[in-house]
């Protein structure tokens, strides 16, 4: 498997504080990779660097062999990366369907074609019956689903998910895990996810990257990571096993 996303020596400082330093990892085509670590480890910063929210101070990002380092977020989206936000950002006054139509318009010129894509995506995410409600009226689990739906509608080759399972009840987590696994298996969608819900990380991911204090401290299969003493010490805690 070749790497769809290749992150090399990525670094970012905020006012002297090293948020991310020299982080390298690869996301193979068709895989699900989880990015884990304690709060403040630099996971979301890493996401933002990949998605182009701000440029890195050092390092490179390649998508499918092409450099995307320093691109603007809309260019990164055009290059094929869809993302969700940890703190959900629905277009609140618009309907659920309109939110997803806007995502689909990233690759469609015609609104009607975008609407068809939006309907399919909403159906898949189980939001079809809420299509005409204003996005602000959704419950948190549904808003998280809407984040995923809107990102999916941009038809990405790589989906960045920032804690889409946090705050969900176990049954809702299972439902979302099923959806993500389905997308990965049926459509070969590659996923890079920041996640705290270890049960989901174990169930979903092929590969886990662990960050702490802005540095990569370990990576490997979920089973290997769960047994890694450094990871247990810094993040998982002995009792979680």
């Amino acid at each position: 498997m070749s790497a769809l996303l290749d992150v090399e020596g990525l670094s970012k400082r905020f006012r002297g504080l090293r948020a991310v330093s020299d982080v390298s990892f690869a996301v193979p085509q068709g895989s699900i990779v989880a990015l884990i670590g304690p709060n403040g480890a630099g996971k979301t910063t890493t996401f933002n660097l990949i998605a182009g929210v701000f440029p890195p101070d050092g390092g490179r990002v390649h998508l499918d062999g092409k450099p995307i380092t320093g691109m603007k977020p809309h260019q990164v989206c055009a290059a094929g990366i869809g993302r969700t936000f940890q703190i959900v950002k629905p277009f609140g006054e618009l309907t659920v369907e309109e939110n997803v139509i806007i995502g689909a318009l990233a690759r469609e010129r015609a609104v009607e074609a975008a609407r068809r894509i939006a309907r399919e995506v909403l159906e898949r995410l189980g939001l079809a019956d809420q299509a005409y409600r204003p996005a602000r009226s959704l419950t948190l689990p549904d808003r998280k689903r809407l984040e995923v739906a809107r990102a999916l509608a941009t038809r990405p080759t790589l989906l960045l998910l920032d804690e889409v399972l946090a705050g969900l009840r176990p049954t809702e987590v299972d439902r979302m895990v099923e959806v993500l696994r389905g997308l990965n298996r049926a459509e070969g969608l590659t996923i890079l996810m920041i996640e705290h819900v270890m049960r989901a990380v174990m169930a979903l991911s092929d590969h886990v990257v662990v960050l702490d204090h802005g540095e990569k401290i370990a990576e490997g299969t979920p089973a290997a990571i769960a047994a890694d003493p450094r990871v247990i010490e810094s993040y998982l805690g002995a009792e979680s096993l």
Binding site: A51, V53, K72, P73, H74, C77, A78, G82, R83, F85, K89, P90, F91, G92, E93, L94, T95, E97, E98, I101, I102, G103, L105, A106, R107, E108, R109, A110, V111, A114, A131, Y132, R133, P134, R150, A151, A153, T154
Partner: protein, 327 residues
């Protein structure tokens, strides 16, 4: 929209079409003013209501459209049908420049609004010193004659022209709102960061909003120049005028298609009614009308903060609930 809305809208349009057959000069002039504010309010709404860009300097675009077309007419006898292109070009250039400064350098929200005020003020003071267009002494269009193509004619002519412009702006705004660009604007209005993440080029989409709004507003300026036949920088570019332009949309409902129209139909007659009321009550002291006008505005904003139109549309069941139409 419900069938009911179509019937009511059709009736209103029919009434507006036949009004000149019955109305006297005063009523016609009030309605012309109402429609003018409805038109420029709609144009302003493209920026604020659709794209979330607050402009408090829309008098700039009115003035540029007015002065460009009037100057060409006065100096070269070039009619407004040609002059409007000069006015629009000038306003589009000004809008694009303001947009470039604002969006390139990350001037957001109220600071962007300050930038729009600054440019309108620069124009107000600058035009005072441009002798070619009369400076502070004003620019006067030759009156008399009847040539509809040159906007020379009766008040009825102007009434129908502005009515046509209102309908044109309404249709255009509706089409824009349901276009790809319209959805991009709404997304930016709701959350710029999320909009960027779904592939929207914020800079380009915002510039387009300013340019469309400036162009439409400039057309309103052309109308104004030929309707009033005189232009003074102190009036045309004034801050007060910029505020007057945005009030109908705010009172009617920012971001709605019918809000600016309804708002203009509320505000202009309200002002006229207050003028005659303070006269009839014998309390016609300076500022008295403004006092009541301000109080009425406050009441409307307090009780209908989203504007009167969304509430009225629900009450009259002109829109389907929820999520279908209404915007």
């Amino acid at each position: 929209m419900t069938p009911r809305a179509l019937v009511l809208g059709g009736l209103l349009l029919a009434v507006l079409l036949v009004v000149p057959l019955f109305a006297d000069g005063y009523v016609l002039s009030v309605l012309t003013t109402v429609l003018w504010f409805a038109y420029v309010g709609q144009a302003w709404n493209v920026m604020m209501g659709f794209s979330g860009l607050l402009s408090l300097g829309h008098a700039l675009y009115v003035g540029l459209g007015a002065y460009a077309s009037a100057a060409l007419f006065v100096h070269f006898g070039i009619g407004p049908l040609v002059g409007l292109f000069a006015g629009i070009a000038l306003a589009v250039a000004a809008g694009a420049f303001i947009g470039f400064l604002g969006f390139r350098f990350g001037v957001r929200g109220v600071h962007f609004a300050l930038l729009t005020i600054a440019f309108a003020e620069v124009a107000r003071i600058g035009f005072d010193h441009i002798g070619w267009v009369g400076g502070s002494g004003g620019l006067f269009l030759p009156v008399g004659g009847s040539n509809p193509l040159n906007l020379r004619g009766s008040p009825t002519l102007f009434y129908y022209v502005i009515l046509a412009l209102v309908l044109l702006a309404l249709v255009l705004a509706k089409r824009l709102l349901h276009s790809r660009l319209g959805y991009q604007w709404l997304a930016i209005r709701e959350d710029a960061e999320a909009a960027e993440a779904v592939g929207i080029d914020l800079f380009r989409a915002r510039i387009k909003a300013v340019v469309v709004s400036a162009a439409l507003t400039a057309l309103g300026g052309v109308f104004q120049a030929f309707y009033f036949n005189n232009l003074f920088p102190e009036q045309v570019f004034s801050m007060g005028r910029s505020i007057e332009i945005i009030l109908p949309a705010i009172v009617g409902g920012v971001g709605t298609l019918f809000g600016p129209i309804l708002g203009a139909f509320i505000l202009t007659p309200l002002g006229e009614a207050l003028t005659s009321a303070v006269g009839a009550l014998g309390v016609d002291m300076p500022g008295m009308k403004q006092l009541f006008y301000g109080a009425a505005l406050v009441l409307i904003i307090v009780f209908r903060p989203d504007g009167v139109w969304p509430w009225l549309a629900r009450r009259l069941r002109l829109v389907r609930a929820p999520g279908e139409g209404g915007r």
